[in-house]
Symmetry: none
Amino acid sequence: MARRILLIVFDGLGDRPIKDLGNKTPLQVAATEHLDWFAANGASGLLDPIAPGVCPGSDTSHLALLGYDPEAVYTGRGPFEAAGVGIDIRPGDVAFRANWATVDLGWRIMDRRAGRIREGTDRLAASLDGLEVEDVRVMFRAGTEHRAALVFRGPGLDPRVTDTDPHEERARVQPAKALHPDAEKTARVLNAFQKRAHEVLVKHEVNRERVAASKPVANLVLTRGAGVFPHLSMFPAKYDLTAAAVAGVALIRGICRSVGLEVLDVPGATGGLDSDFAAKGRAAVDALATRDFVLLTVKAPDLCGHDGKPTEKAQVLERIDRELMGHLRAHLPRDAILAVTGDHSTPCERKDHSGDPVPLLIFGEGVRTDGVTQFDEVAAMRGGLGRIRGRDLMPVLLDLADRSAKYGA
Amino acid sequence: MARRILLIVFDGLGDRPIKDLGNKTPLQVAATEHLDWFAANGASGLLDPIAPGVCPGSDTSHLALLGYDPEAVYTGRGPFEAAGVGIDIRPGDVAFRANWATVDLGWRIMDRRAGRIREGTDRLAASLDGLEVEDVRVMFRAGTEHRAALVFRGPGLDPRVTDTDPHEERARVQPAKALHPDAEKTARVLNAFQKRAHEVLVKHEVNRERVAASKPVANLVLTRGAGVFPHLSMFPAKYDLTAAAVAGVALIRGICRSVGLEVLDVPGATGGLDSDFAAKGRAAVDALATRDFVLLTVKAPDLCGHDGKPTEKAQVLERIDRELMGHLRAHLPRDAILAVTGDHSTPCERKDHSGDPVPLLIFGEGVRTDGVTQFDEVAAMRGGLGRIRGRDLMPVLLDLADRSAKYGA
């Protein structure tokens, strides 16, 4: 009988030994009763999301954990972030990350983030969404704060264009240039779009309100990270699984949407430190009632890593253990295979991602237990799963769920 | 001084924890004194025959264990099974699995296995072997019971044709159709062969005997699983080794013949639960006297796994340990490197192959011992060999046998 699969990914889970914690990692010092119980009754190991020592992004790692080869399908952050903010992006579309910015009359940058604008960005975005430049249709959505996503759809587009964002204050905005002859049209359309957007934005009521409030206006859109949306096989068809995801962060939601996972909305799941982990756990268990596969991601540990706060990282891991893993220990269906891992390490001392492997545990009927009784980077080294790669995980889980097809006879 | 190599493969060796065995595997509960002795005096590890989580067939796995890349050389079961029943198959030949079947006058299936015919199949096969259709030579051999192998040799053949076996009783036999324009000739020859075979078979004395005994006649040949025989480098040349194999099962004998291993016949070695393991052990030790490399495979554990019989699996492993491994412990040449592993797991609860890794032990002069004192799936997790893949095994064994060439200077 085929089993269901619940894959839990803690963003930035792994860490390095920290002097102030007695040369232990935040996960080692955190009291994680429920994670330890799953480890004691399952199998542990180390996972290199991409390959040993390769420092992954959350996007490339999630692609690998879902069984895709990032080398073959990852075309930059822009396309996945556009999908994450809800643009119905399609293969061949060219997507950009965009910033609201403030420029002077000579298009010199006054503020690359338009005063970290928060209010009214949906209305600003709506005024640009649907513009047409030549035969190219423009799609535009606001993201969080000053961030936005821009997508071009039309014939003959190519992402090999330079950033219009000069990446520094006081610099003059650069017209986009083609880095390849095939991208001349895209550069021309991008430059024309930017002029049209400027004309629309300077007259926009949101900016009139900002002038009245003495705030920097959002009178230009800066672009970077152009990428073409790749042809991706859809996860449900690829693995013959009904599948859903519980994830708060736009980039991860975009990855999930892009491969055909149904992205569930969970009230209180913010992608922040204040996220309602219990609600996410309940949503995942509920989703498993009618799906073969559920992915649940939690962003909080990564935020503590980027902020360099090991004590906070240990504390949030304890809260995740209590609220999320405690719920799963009580309510996980008997026929489910559970995997818990990270998408990468975010060591507090480095304040950024690293290529250190992350711990992995797999729990469920038929899993060979291995004598490991704790869930952390060091205990996992002695686990029975050994050291595997992100792309190995889906085959391992499908096989334990009795869903693998025989290769040969 | 270069050493000799004995590679022992227990088919379907690995398993999953079984409730009735106290959440242990059959190999864990089996008393295997000699295997444990080899483990205690050697090195252990886990082996993924293909890759983590990939569920191998015995054919793809044996290819990998012998150092071949199944992705590059595995073209389906037909060609290797044809080699296994003794057809001298060559690159470019197209091979089919074949069944003796009973059809009515309208070629509707009465019995897909001709009453599981056993008697006289060699004589039936001889009447088809050597037929010529257009410029194609037909080779035909009987296998066990209703099974047979059909091979076409000639110019312009292509395996992309449909099965003539409708795969269900009462259905009408389908003419072969080309799935690709290059396969038109193969489909035409196959259909012509089937008519000629029918004409020969209806008049055959074996069928006259069956009619007299009121048994279903074998008056047609159903085909499926067409495959072209791949270009394979020959094992003895590839590794500069004289090499032989002791194996009872046609498919594995076929794999071995296909890569140039001399397949030894051992009286009493049946490929069944009743196989004479002691005779196989003696044959392997004898063969090592004049060869650099011997492969010995034992089918019995896989049969117990497919039947879902964990106690029988443990018992047959104990008998193998006593009769085969006991002999090797006493008689293995001092200068031999011994490896013991499985070609895949066949968990009794699943009753089919799985992608769970199998235990591996390597014993011999120069092997670094690792403190592991038992041979089973869980003890092997702590072994010094870590977790390697099937294709890594030959390089490891060649190196321990002091037969590796330096890569670089």
